[in-house]
Symmetry: C2
Subunit: 429 residues, 2 copies
């Protein structure tokens, strides 16, 4: 097999790990199927100092790599959506195969990029964009190729999962757990995209495109981050038999596809509830097979590098068609019409008849109450407090109805505050 | 893409499900990459009556399918190792690509078959041979292609896992749990190969060949089945923080490969210990990535059929080299020299000084005692019994030393019986 000539842009943590793995695994790859890769050029804004190999051509002009006629495969590891898009589209127009770890790029510009790739008859590898070293793209696209996927549910953001695990196990408050994650290198200096759910939502939109054969469309994903979760909520969830996880969820109902990413109560008996620390996991439910679950490191330089090199090998073997998302009658819809069971935490006046009044508000909206907790709260001198927390698990409700319900509850004199509302992971099938 | 012509032999539960899935998924497969399969001939000993499709050519002479010049891909689903071997080797000599779900065939004759395939330049798909609908072969061979696998540990026999789960959760005795499995269709009329560990050991030898690049060699796998596990052992394990699972284990140490399949105490915090019912799971530890885990249905007609069709698609895309196992300096060795921690259950005389004497025997063999349980046992009238059970968790010991230890214990007057000895899953890395 003739060597494939690789050009790589972006030598941060991941790019450095890819360079290292390509060097170290070259004899393993050659043994396993005659796969040979020649690193033709590296684009690094900081120049040669960040590339520890003398025999590699390094340029600070990244566009030079995308235009280099000696490059067969263009590896994009710079991140971001503007310049990365320009680089990738240039490389595609030059007929180069693409490997990218950039979930934001695919979630936002994926459709345009895959169309261009199809026109230019090139392939795009993006295993590294979701769940790092855990081959979930391969599982969805190849392992389950003959099966209709009905839904998937995944823990796709390692930073969020680490913070929720700390809050749940150690009862550490959110801000302290975040600081600890940053100290350990598990959260970035600016952790906004991880904490507010954007990162997980972008990954969910990529998985949905593959699972349900719809266009990449990040706009259609409803999401919230973990910043609304308190240690208090994790304690109540535990008491009720749940863990709170940030769950990316995609579902096919008839021909409609719904995608979301929310902090979600997951029952202890569901395997996702047991996934701790910074690990990722994805459960895929397909017709005929039922559930399969993929668990592993979701980020980190070395796992991501492993996915990038696996993509290079896939391309050496012929790759996969471009345009994964264009061949069905399925339609991506706003997810807010979906009904799901919910968790509510309220502060209410500690006086007779309050629970009855709250229950009536739920009943008026035709929402069942499945569980309710009101603990006896004593203050230090043994007297009772004026306000007490009440936790309610409800039956299935849409976002629309929840909004009305919360308005009505907030209007009640007896309700001091509607503190929280989270979704509950409904066991489907 | 031109249609690939498929010939399929064996229309039992799995074969029937493959025929159905090929029919039902044909438009999905065509949409996803232009994959077209034409079912040219079906070999079924029982003839046309078992094939519900009128437009398919059916023969009772299976060799006719292996010799049919119109067949591009030969799908072997008859099971067994004699005639299946003959069919597969004939098909290979005729230049046909192969898809098989037959783990016994690969474990026992795999090396010969893959050499022949290489000579004839044909590919062999065998995703269905291990863990059914869970794409573990693909993960090992492709997802982790650039990473050195250090070890794997898997629950690979669904029947055994169902029985152990029943025994652990419901405290059902082995024979009753087996009957229940048979009633539910989770165990065959003759469950020997599942119960005695053969099935899991065969699958372990296939995984080892892929993970460590050694020849298929079932002979080198040391194994025992779950028939030696009592409900009593599961109770003690639980008390000590373990579950007992049947674990197939493969490990690379320097250039030596060790493969085994034993009932094993798995600590509760290890994810494999939480895999219940008839489910399978495989943990793979690779350099740079750490652990990834794959969980799903390990058997059943539809999951297995899904793996067979995924293999057909892989072959349509060019497949993978034959001879997965021939390109390294690694050597498969008898596993009995490996040291692992152990669980022992003894019946001992209820008299002073016994524990001291037993401890001395362990100390003489230089084996540490990590935990010891002796419960106070009262008989109905409140008096103590003559004999009491003692459970010991030891440090790491080889099979050889365990044998000597057990001999010495059995020679002791104070030891009524050495009831059990199981391995403990050591946390590596």
């Amino acid at each position: 097999m003739k060597a494939l000539r690789v050009g790589l842009c972006g030598v941060g943590n991941v790019g450095g790990a890819v360079l290292k793995l390509l060097k170290e695994s070259s004899s393993l790859l050659e043994q396993q199927g005659g796969f040979l890769f020649e690193l033709v050029q590296v684009g690094a804004r900081k120049g040669r100092s960040v590339v520890p190999y003398d025999d590699v051509d390094v340029t600070t002009d990244l566009m030079e790599v995308a235009n280099n006629p000696d490059v067969d495969i263009f590896v994009e590891l710079i991140g971001g959506t503007e310049f990365a898009d320009e680089l990738v589209q240039t490389a595609i127009r030059n007929g180069k195969q693409i490997v990218t770890a950039n979930k934001a790029l695919l979630a936002i510009k994926g459709d345009e990029i895959f169309q261009l790739a199809k026109q230019n008859n090139v392939q795009i590898g993006f295993e590294a964009s979701v769940a790092g070293g855990t081959p979930v793209i391969k599982a969805l696209r190849e392992g389950l190729v003959a099966n209709k996927v009905e839904w998937f549910a995944g823990i796709l953001n390692g930073t969020s999962n680490y913070i929720l695990t700390e809050m749940s196990v150690e009862k550490t408050e959110f801000s302290l757990a975040l600081s600890k994650a940053q100290e350990l290198g598990l959260a970035e200096a600016d952790p906004t995209m991880d904490i507010d759910g954007t990162d997980a939502a972008q990954k969910a939109s990529i998985l949905a495109a593959l699972a349900f054969h719809v266009p990449f469309n990040f706009e259609a994903v409803n999401y919230e981050g973990i910043d609304k979760v308190d240690v208090e909520d994790l304690k109540y969830a535990e008491e009720l038999g749940y863990n709170i996880k940030h769950i990316a969820f995609g579902r096919l109902l008839d021909n409609s596809v719904f995608v979301s990413a929310y902090p979600t109560l997951v029952p202890h008996e569901v395997i996702l509830s047991q996934v701790g620390q910074q690990m990722n996991a994805l459960e895929i439910y397909a017709q005929g097979i039922g559930s399969t679950v993929y668990y592993g490191p979701g980020a980190g330089p070395e796992p991501t590098a492993s996915a990038v090199v696996a993509d290079l090998v896939d391309l050496a073997k012929g790759g996969w068609q471009a345009e994964p998302a264009r061949h069905s009658d399925n339609i991506l819809r706003q997810e807010s019409s979906i009904k799901v069971p919910r968790y509510f935490r309220l502060m209410v006046k500690n006086e007779p008849g309050v629970i009855a009044k709250i229950s009536a508000v739920f009943a008026n909206q035709d929402i069942s109450i499945e569980a309710l907790i009101q603990h006896e709260i004593k203050v230090n001198n043994g007297e009772q407090t004026d306000e007490v927390p009440v936790v309610i698990l409800s039956g299935s409700v849409s976002d629309q109805i929840v909004k009305e319900l919360l308005n009505q509850l907030n209007d009640m004199e007896e309700v001091a505050d509607c503190l929280k509302q989270f979704r509950i992971h409904a066991k489907i099938n």
